[in-house]
């Protein structure tokens, strides 16, 4: 086991593991929200949170690994673009669902079930 002083020392030297942990925490929070939220908009927000957690990883690896170019940042940029497309479609679907079924509760949207 490492001592408390060593742990403090590690915690204060911000490096790649810090960002990976942060991204894991954000992703886990997003995952928890995805499983527990009922409203369709809240679910969309949690998905956005998870996508952002992934972007942190891209950029942190790009910064800390012996990189030669900015591929990681560019991947994060593509990911943001795809996330924007996803939000646009998701919100349009939510609007449509509310228009047709007068609810945004994902549990009530079970018309395909038997």
């Amino acid at each position: 086991m490492i001592s408390f002083v060593e742990m403090m020392h590690l915690a204060l030297h911000v490096g790649l593991p810090h960002f990976l942990l942060l991204s894991a925490v954000l992703f886990a929070i997003g995952l928890f929200g995805l499983f527990t939220k009922k409203g369709i908009i809240a679910v969309l927000m949690c998905i956005e949170l998870m996508l952002n957690a992934v972007n942190i990883n891209f950029i942190a690896f790009n910064h800390y690994m012996p990189a030669t170019d900015l591929s990681g940042q560019l991947m994060a940029l593509f990911s943001i673009a795809v996330a924007a497309a996803e939000v646009a479609i998701g919100l349009a679907l939510a609007f449509r669902i509310y228009h047709d079924h007068h609810t945004v509760n994902v549990d009530d949207l079970n018309h395909l079930k038997g």
């Binding site: 990976l20 942060l22 925490v25 995952l31 908009i41 800390y64 170019d69």
Partner: protein, 192 residues
Amino acid sequence: MNDLILSLHRLIDMGMTMAEELGTPEIILAAVFYVFAGISVLGALGVVLGRNIVHSALCLTASFIGIGCLYIFLSADFLGAVQFLVYGGAVAILIVMAIMLTRREDMAHSNPSRSIPHQLAALVVAGMFLLAMAAVALMSPFQTAPADIGDTVTGIADLMLTKYVLPFEIVAVLLLIAMIGAIILAKGVDES
């Protein structure tokens, strides 16, 4: 008078040297990281635990701004600006939609969660995921060597129009399709 100022200089120099020996630059960097990481994690918790959908969305903004500041911390200044620009607008639209799809009197409970057993199960799954990822992050022997990459704008632009020109075009087409699709979905198709 001069003696007073000289002694003040000596005192300040001593303080600064001491601060440097204690590793103040490291501590300042760590403080910046922990402040913005804290903002993003607390914001994320606010999104998940909030009862009011508008409060959740505002917490989401706080989280995104924290993440954007971390991008700048990671020398990705262009990405930080993109983050602010894209998600500022996205969250505004989310809030508008959330308000539109909720009745005013329900606003305090507009972001309901599932039952407690559901939440416990979700907590276990998310916790297991977190443990696995934390183990990977802490155990992997990453070879870190922060390199000075230079101007991010020209770097990204060069890559975008040379090595990654195909994904770039595909993303452009995807955004166009998404835009048209969203408009058709939201407006509905004229049946006649």
